[in-house]
């Protein structure tokens, strides 16, 4: 369930970037990992500073005893814990936004294929940096993070419920935000920029600024998710943030569920986590009779599923909906009085579109061979 909440958040952010605004982010893992790194390196140090815990000048070196001290201090202090939690999340968002801003420079200027390669490379470079630069999060060993939910009781159940509630609240907020954007004029602008940036520009929309802002927001959201995962797990480790898990699986959720459709993405993320659990349960039944680990089949399964969806239902399970428009009656009313004909030509053009679902995929214009 916690995994679902976090996957949902990251895939919603990818949906904003790639589904609505048409920026293919193949380096998603970089932003999530950045949030995790910030949460891991800053929150503990901050807590140590506030609670006057001695770090002996080498935070990473004495991490184990520092964290033990912090945990015991924090378990009695709910307010401080929540403050550090929120601050960690906000800081992660800020760093994510900064990274997004830096990424937006090439993202706006490069074509999709070059952008894909660049982001993939940047993400790998970032991972090397995370793993190599020890003072940040202890390199490949990783460091622990103070348990910011210790105040919720020592019993596993109570703490888990609190954490789950928190994550669910966060995911719900992000979903609400994404839906509000999708149904707003901004959402329509995003889609316009995605589908035909020249036309959007001709209509006066600053497509460069729009894409830049979308990337910044989406990156901030992903970073927050990364921070939350770190706080939930209690440790951060450079090796855990793999390209497969946090770039590829996220794309799988978005595409299978339905790009540019938040409900679709939610469904995609759910199906993904659900299928994983199913395979986990079912595999014991035939693990014995196969000479290899059944888990490998999951990769094959999702890869084929993705290709099948791309081939036969490119819009995803829940394809993109047409824009929300005025009901026909309102349009008729607006069109009626003859004296107002010249008032607003744009309103007359908003004809109600049929609610048919589109079969073409909305990630970009279809390729002509």
């Amino acid at each position: 369930m916690t995994a679902y909440a976090l996957y949902l958040v990251v895939s919603l952010s990818l949906n904003l970037e790639a589904g609505f605004a048409g920026v293919p982010n193949f380096g998603k893992v970089m932003f999530v990992a950045a949030g995790a790194a910030v949460a891991g390196s800053v929150s503990g140090r901050l807590a140590a500073l506030i609670l006057s815990v001695n770090t002996h000048g080498d935070y990473n070196g004495f991490i184990a005893q520092i964290i033990t001290q912090l945990d015991s201090s924090l378990s009695g202090n709910a307010v401080l814990s929540i403050e550090i939690l929120l601050l960690g999340i906000l800081l992660a968002a800020a760093i994510g936004a900064t990274l997004g801003f830096l990424t937006s420079y090439p993202a706006i200027r490069l074509r999709e294929d070059y952008l894909g390669m660049l982001l993939l490379a940047a993400a790998q470079l970032f991972q090397i940096f995370l793993g190599g630069y020890e003072p940040l999060i202890g390199g490949t060993q990783g460091i622990e993070v103070p348990d910011l939910f210790a105040w919720a009781g020592n019993g596993i159940e109570v703490r888990d419920v609190v954490v789950l509630g928190f994550l669910a609240l966060f995911a719900g907020l992000v979903y609400f935000y994404a839906e509000r954007i999708a149904r707003s004029p901004l959402g329509r602008t995003l889609r316009a920029v995605r589908d035909n940036e020249v036309a959007a520009r001709a209509l006066g929309k600053d497509d460069v600024a729009i894409r830049r802002n979308v990337i910044i927001v989406a990156s901030a959201i992903s970073a927050m998710a990364g921070a939350l995962l770190t706080f939930y797990v209690g440790a951060v480790n450079a090796e855990a943030w793999t390209r497969i898990t946090w770039t590829f699986w996220i794309w799988v959720m978005v595409i299978i569920g339905g790009a540019a459709n938040n409900a679709g993405v939610a469904l995609g993320a759910f199906s993904f986590t659900f299928l994983f659990k199913v395979v986990d349960q079912v595999k014991f039944y035939f693990q014995g009779s196969i000479p290899f680990d059944v888990n490998w089949l999951e990769y094959l399964m999702f890869a084929s599923l993705l290709i099948l969806i791309l081939a036969f239902r490119p819009g995803g399970i829940l394809p993109e909906k047409s824009s929300v428009t005025l009901p026909w009656r309102s349009v008729a009313q607006i069109m009626q009085p003859k004296s107002r004909i010249v008032a607003n030509p744009t309103q007359q053009s908003s004809t109600p579109e049929p609610g048919k679902s589109d079969q073409t995929d909305k990630l970009g214009s279809p390729q002509t061979t």
């Binding site: 090397i128 940096f129 490998w296 970009g364």
Partner: protein, 326 residues
């Protein structure tokens, strides 16, 4: 004695050149960056490994088999996935994602295969093996020091002859430059594309089977290399095969040499960032000259320099004559 640095650079550079040539071939034909290309390399690596460990045959003899396997898998990927999706009107991003999907599928396939090697043949290091110590030695140097650059040279020359002297090769060039016009002329564009992918897969696995003799092997060999291979292709210019070979040489050599230089200047902690240098090169290339080295206006740079040198030489000879009292 040849320094290990030179050894490393030569082998690395040649391998990357070989791989980059194949990647550019796939990009030229479909205009889609093939993120699964690294998996073809892994196929070659595992072919050498299996042949060596199971049949005790020298990996060099497995190169033809690796070539064929990689080539066939590559063609299967092109026909079964990319062409199928392109015919259904998939967008460029969707095609890119499909190549990522194939890469993921290969993670599963290699996992299954390595598990099979372990359970059936008792090979314990199937998931992560140290380089095969099966290379021959010539004048005190490992065979790869000779075979890798020679292979690259052979491949590049053969490609050049193929693309310029044979009808099919010229047809392939036409199909890449302007498919519609090529079709009008009666060229079977699809056949040339299939052959290009055949070659590309073959080159990748050949490089892979060589790499089993030089680098650590395992299930993630290819996916670890893919970004660096892209760096090589992008540096050379995705539109040029010879650029790719050149870019591969530069990226491969600079990875070794820059890391060494960095260690000398900054200290040994730089060695962790070795893999980062090709990526840095790629980022810089994409930001400054995205079309690669072949697109840089060398004439525009070289001509003024040549003119300046010419001027300098003239002035100097004048002064020289004056001083001699002419």
């Amino acid at each position: 004695m040849v320094s290990p640095l030179l050894l490393d650079s030569v082998v690395y550079a040649s391998l990357f050149g070989l791989m980059a040539v194949g990647l550019t071939l796939t990009y030229l034909t479909t205009k889609v960056p093939n993120f699964a290309y690294g998996s073809f390399v892994t196929i070659g690596s595992y072919t050498s490994f299996s042949v060596f460990r199971i049949d005790h045959v020298n990996p060099y003899f497995s190169v033809p088999l690796a070539f064929l396997l990689g080539a066939l898998v590559s063609v299967a990927m092109y026909l079964g996935v990319l062409r199928m999706l392109a015919r259904r009107g998939s967008s460029l991003v969707a095609l890119m994602i499909s190549t990522l999907a194939i890469d993921i599928a290969f993670v599963g396939i290699f996992g299954i295969y390595s598990d099979y090697l372990t359970s059936h043949y008792g090979i314990v290091d199937s998931k992560n093996f140290f380089r095969l110590l099966a290379d021959f030695s010539l004048y005190g140097l490992p065979g790869l020091f000779y075979t890798a650059p020679i292979s690259l040279a052979l491949v590049t020359t053969a490609l050049f002859l193929f693309l310029t002297r044979t009808r099919f090769g010229v047809a392939m060039r036409a199909s890449v430059e302007n498919p519609s016009l090529a079709r009008v002329l009666g060229i079977d564009v699809e056949r040339t594309y299939v052959f290009a992918w055949f070659l590309a897969g073959g080159f990748a696995s050949t490089a892979g089977s060589f790499s089993a003799l030089w680098l650590q092997g395992g299930t993630t060999v290819g996916s670890g290399l893919i970004v660096e291979i892209f760096a090589a292709s992008v540096l050379g210019g995705l539109a040029s095969i010879y650029g790719a070979a050149f870019g591969g040489l530069i990226v491969g050599a600079s990875e070794i040499l820059l890391t060494q230089a960095g260690i000398t200047v900054f200290g040994s902690w730089i060695s962790i960032y070795q893999k980062g240098f090709p990526l840095l090169i790629m980022v810089i290339t994409l930001l400054l000259f995205p079309r690669g080295l072949v697109s840089v206006n060398w004439h525009g740079i070289l001509r003024p320099i040549a003119a300046f040198v010419d001027l300098l030489a003239n002035r100097l000879s004048e002064i020289f004559r004056f001083v001699r009292g002419k």
